[in-house]
Subunit: 418 residues, 2 copies
Amino acid sequence: MNQKVQTLKGFRDFLPQDAKKRQYVISKLKNVFESFGFEPLETPVLEYEEILLGKYGEEGDKLMYRFTDNGERRVAMRYDQTVPLARVAAQYQNDLPLPFKRYQIQNVYRAENTQKGRYREFLQCDIDTVGTDSLFADAEIIATAAKCLEILGFSKFKILINDRAVFSLLITDPRQVLKKEELSKVVRAVDKLKKIGKEKVLDEIIESGISAERATYIMQTLEFQKPTNMLTTIFQYLESLGISSEQYEFVPTLARGLDYYTGVIFEIEIDGYTAGSVCGGGRYDNLIGLFSPHSIPAVGLAFGFDRTLEAMEALNLFPEDLSTTKVLVTIFSPDLADKSLEITSRLRSKNINTEIYLDAGAKMDKQLKYADKKNIPYVVIIGPDEIANSAITLKNLQKRSQETCSLEDLASKITSTL
Amino acid sequence: MNQKVQTLKGFRDFLPQDAKKRQYVISKLKNVFESFGFEPLETPVLEYEEILLGKYGEEGDKLMYRFTDNGERRVAMRYDQTVPLARVAAQYQNDLPLPFKRYQIQNVYRAENTQKGRYREFLQCDIDTVGTDSLFADAEIIATAAKCLEILGFSKFKILINDRAVFSLLITDPRQVLKKEELSKVVRAVDKLKKIGKEKVLDEIIESGISAERATYIMQTLEFQKPTNMLTTIFQYLESLGISSEQYEFVPTLARGLDYYTGVIFEIEIDGYTAGSVCGGGRYDNLIGLFSPHSIPAVGLAFGFDRTLEAMEALNLFPEDLSTTKVLVTIFSPDLADKSLEITSRLRSKNINTEIYLDAGAKMDKQLKYADKKNIPYVVIIGPDEIANSAITLKNLQKRSQETCSLEDLASKITSTL
């Protein structure tokens, strides 16, 4: 074959070892999402182009995968999960009990510059509560995020919380700290505080046409802002939900770049992982009504899936044993193959994931190597000696130990240590 | 908004009720796949066009979603999971321990005629064992399929089994029943036996240029063929794996249309569901080596996911209660909201999926209706009476009953009946 055998830049294969890690995290997240009453939603990978186009700014339109399909329709690939949610909210408005609490865990597609270590196909894990402006919903979203991290094994993390009103209050402030038309420039600059530092944020504010004196005054005032009443209520709910005040922090300079936030905003940083926040979100009351005749309040969050995995890897939080197969039943010789096959069925009936070695003629040594390579913890051997004694040899590859037991005891011996 | 709010033809949204059914089936299938030692693999939705083009015949090239990406690359969307597996087998040949047993559960894309009730985005559930010609692998694939159906609740099904050699033996038969160049025509016609009946199959064989007399002779000979030695061995392995001879049947006229099969072929039919087989597969030793310097033997199967769901629906096999939320904690009045919030945390800590009603001012009636609409079985009420008596009211919406209990007993009362 002369074809180049390769994956596209920015796209990835996940071989079993990685795929299992992904499944592990997804399953933990789903369990927590469901424990808070969020339910699954799936939308198609392709949408009519007009549904997605113009919803993510100029940059979004540029990075979107768009093409003409075989039926001459202009289509586009899923770019995020929020615009599809807005479409769903409008399309099924009569079928969805409000508030609608959904989670969605699907791939999105962006033709990003891969040199920056970005992927073009990556998983998003979102939860959103649609159709209520109750602050319970805001507190619940934050509590869900915290629970997810706890369940994944992150013991130390900080939830940074702010209210977009903290910025807009600078406009209504009697001291006239900020003019209305300056708001989004300042938000955008302050958003970079952690990345580029205060000096450069000031530079950027000044570059946007605000005097150096006023820029300093704006930053100072911002830093000394107090939590809004809304935040105080959310904090109280968080305490009721078991989130102690040590776990969260009011950060008046937290901005989150996106224009669409209208209320609480938050990000979670993990101790010992400095590459950025793994999770963030907030309230956005003007986006989900996009396709509806009236506006629909909403609050939600997104986990950065790749970053979450990276942080777990960095902090060594994956279970040591992600092997799905627990036992390899070897084949001593072709004439004893039936015996081995029977044992696999017996173990499976006891809910023990069991493989048989798939070559009746292979040397025992080769069979053991296969188990080793696949990280299968147990190996069962049944040869003529074992059959003569109505016994089975059970090897523990991790402990490099072996013992003999009866067929009846085999399953319980294995489950007791798994 | 003037935009048409709609999904593309052949593409589907899955709202929670359907999404939960899908997740239920996927999770059952995964468990069984893993119990037999199959491990997850994920490949990208986009591949270089040249990887996929020409691999599925003329029809496949026509139905494939193909386009030019922003970087002027010709790309194509996943059309099945077998060609990507062949690419993976070649690309990572040094990293994959052989035999490689993988499962893959991802969407594939085909621009099918939707008027035939076909979808353009649909889920495939495949398992394949790559890199061994051991008949254990063949038997194991069939046993895995049977186990899947059993676990999904199908109590009566029949595994139809044949060997492609049953057809080719007609060529080497001393009676010269079939000529080599007639083989694929005959296979293709016989493949339709169930759909169109014997008369029309004969017609089709005759139309392909074989005399009526010979056509009848071919069909007769075929019907009286005996299982090959290979099949006899596989049957013996199936028995060792606990599949009784009542569950499978040798069907010499089973053809499975695809050209690429080289050995055992099988299909599973479900009693009481007549729309077709939900699962099929076989051995195909010349396909996985497609991108490799040498051929790689393989055997596998695919579940028709939509059809499996349809059959489960028809036979009423979904659990009655697929609700993810088990308890709704209501809010008696805004000043008691904290009490309600605390109870949600307490229940969640006991692994009970719990929602709080997200509007502190809503009437109790409205809150109960929400629980009803979302099929939440339990409702908790904590009002001033309850607080005065250190008690909680627990309503069972399905039984239309209610009782009073202490906060301490609440979780165990609920878990004991879930």
